[in-house]
């Protein structure tokens, strides 16, 4: 394959990719369907922001956010059936069960560990030695600005963590497992080795528990934008949306079987961070995965970083073979 030149890079030499928004298919169907899949994303985002902005304190709490999150996931699952992006990404029973297994690990086992060695524990330790009154100025900022700053700081950190994973072998090992997915569905973001899920789950949300409303709004921004990274639904995202925010199109390129395309679109929420650092690639891909699209079993996903890491260490520290002189 010849590929296509984008800046200094040539992408699509190993697997087909579509570059440029003008080449990406649009939602097909009647005017109602097209309007729905054009405005769904902005309407959800602004509705959630309005809800968290004006909801009474008795409602604006974490349990409400969890409920909204679950309902939103179910809604997006139904949209995958109504308007799939690719037939080859259709959710099967096996894929759904596999994805749900990783989601459930996050809610149970990993949640348990987080409290001891994850960000919750680290933040708790820092907070216990920190004078909250020093942050009073932050609470005086407009709520939307507080929410944006929380979401942006988090995403900025995630960008560099993610980029680091693609550029430093010890971090790549746990992250590589996530790149063996061969299709995008709503729960695919949870698929990965627990070590990576732990690293990517390191957040700053706990720092802002003294600002519950701003933290909820930041979470809503992340959910109403970041959820579309892994989804098999075609949207006609407005131009301004895809300029500012990460989309399925961006993330499908990141998961492409084409190596050069995977080295792009690292942010979770704000694609303008990628644009700023020159790692943004506008387009989409259908053929995803590693090793030509080999699907990795759950067992291998659990052990792969360790077995590959062990192999790499052995190679690095192997004694050079000593030549025996001929008699």
């Amino acid at each position: 394959m010849d590929g296509v030149r984008v800046g200094k890079r040539i992408v699509g030499t190993q697997s087909p990719v579509t570059i440029g928004w003008e080449n990406i298919p649009k939602v097909e169907g009647g005017p109602v369907k097209r309007a729905f899949f054009t405005w769904f994303q902005p309407v959800v985002l602004f509705s959630l922001l309005a809800f968290w902005y004006w909801a009474p304190n008795s409602i604006a709490k974490a349990s409400t956010a969890v409920g909204i999150g679950i309902a939103f996931r179910l809604l997006l699952l139904s949209l995958e059936w109504v308007n799939p992006r690719h037939e080859s990404w259709k959710l099967t029973w096996k894929e759904f069960v596999t994805d749900l297994f990783y989601v459930s690990l996050g809610y149970t086992f990993l949640g348990l560990i987080e409290g001891y060695i994850g960000s919750d524990a680290i933040i708790g330790a820092i907070q216990s030695h920190f004078d909250l009154s020093k942050l009073a100025w932050f609470t005086a900022l407009p709520l939307l600005l507080q929410a944006f700053l929380i979401a942006f700081i988090f995403d900025f950190g995630q960008y560099w963590m993610h980029r680091g994973m693609h550029n430093w072998y010890p971090l790549w090992l746990p992250h590589s497992v996530h790149h063996y997915i061969t299709q995008l569905n709503i729960n695919k973001g949870a698929v990965g080795n627990p070590v990576e899920l732990f690293l990517i789950g390191l957040g700053i949300g706990g720092f802002f528990d003294f600002l519950p409303r701003a933290a909820m709004m930041a979470g809503a921004i992340g959910m109403a934008i970041g959820s579309y990274q892994h989804i098999n639904t075609r949207f006609n995202s407005p131009r301004w949306w895809r300029y500012l925010f990460n989309t399925t199109e961006h993330h499908s390129l990141h998961h492409s079987q084409d190596y050069e395309s995977t080295r792009s679109n690292y942010s979770n929420t704000f694609i303008f961070i990628d644009r700023f650092f020159g790692t943004c690639l506008d387009g989409e891909a259908e053929l995803l995965g590693m090793e030509g699209g080999r699907r990795m079993s759950i067992r291998e996903q659990m052990t792969y970083p360790f077995t590959e890491g062990w192999k790499a260490l052995r190679e690095r520290f192997a004694r050079p073979a000593t030549a025996v002189p001929a008699e």
Partner: protein, 214 residues
């Protein structure tokens, strides 16, 4: 005896009756595309086809199956396809609720241990300074009618009576329900797949990339 009682958990058996003249070779020729998939190896010997799959693609229509045997018996005016296949995915889904019940028990045990730990009281004392913190509200938010922020409450973990095992119980229930659905649904999907192939009702390829613009 034990195997016979438990085999149904991860085995899919079935038959497809073909009511038109067909040799075993013709029948397996029609089923052939199902086994020409990445990660699938198979052998044909007269009226029997055995196959196994390693890491089948998500798009493989038989990806739930790991190995199996198909036999085609020719009868007067038709034939019967009999198959017996194993699925580790079904077995894993059957066992998953047990794992989540174990997580629930672990959560309860850790919650009890945390409550009895002497460090909890010390932590609660340290967190008390949060109560003295008075959050401000921007004049913009006040004007637009956003509710005024409340003083931070006591640390959430201190308020909780302990860690909750609810999510682990919910997922145990979900996987139990998904097992029942998968056990029934996937057997029907496989049977329908074989029937359609044998009767020549479908020729769809499992994966064809649709986007190739350069």
């Amino acid at each position: 005896m034990f195997a016979r009682l438990t085999d149904w958990i991860w085995h899919i058996d079935g038959t497809v009756v073909v009511s038109r003249p067909m040799s075993s070779q013709q029948a397996f020729d029609r089923l052939d595309p199902l086994f020409r998939q990445p990660g699938t190896s198979f052998e044909r010997a007269r009226d029997t086809l055995t196959f196994s799959k390693k890491d089948p693609a998500a798009q493989d229509k038989m990806s739930i199956i790991d190995r199996g045997t198909l036999q085609f018996e020719t009868a007067q005016g038709g034939g019967v396809l009999r198959y017996r296949m194993t699925s580790k995915a079904l077995l894993a889904c059957f066992l998953a609720p047990l794992m989540f019940l174990a997580f629930a028990q672990l959560t309860v045990a850790i919650g009890k241990w945390e409550k009895s730990s002497p460090s909890t009281e010390e932590k609660a004392k340290k967190k008390d300074d949060k109560k003295d913190f008075v959050p401000q509200q921007s004049w913009i938010d006040k004007t637009l009618g956003s509710p005024a922020p409340e003083k931070p409450k006591k640390d959430k973990k201190d308020e909780d009576e302990g860690r909750s095992p609810t999510s682990a119980y919910v997922f145990a229930g979900l996987f139990a329900a998904l097992y029942v659905i998968g056990r029934i649904l996937e057997a029907r999907v496989i049977q329908s797949l074989f029937r359609k192939r044998l009767l020549g009702e479908t020729t769809a390829s499992p994966r064809a990339p649709t986007v190739m613009a350069f």
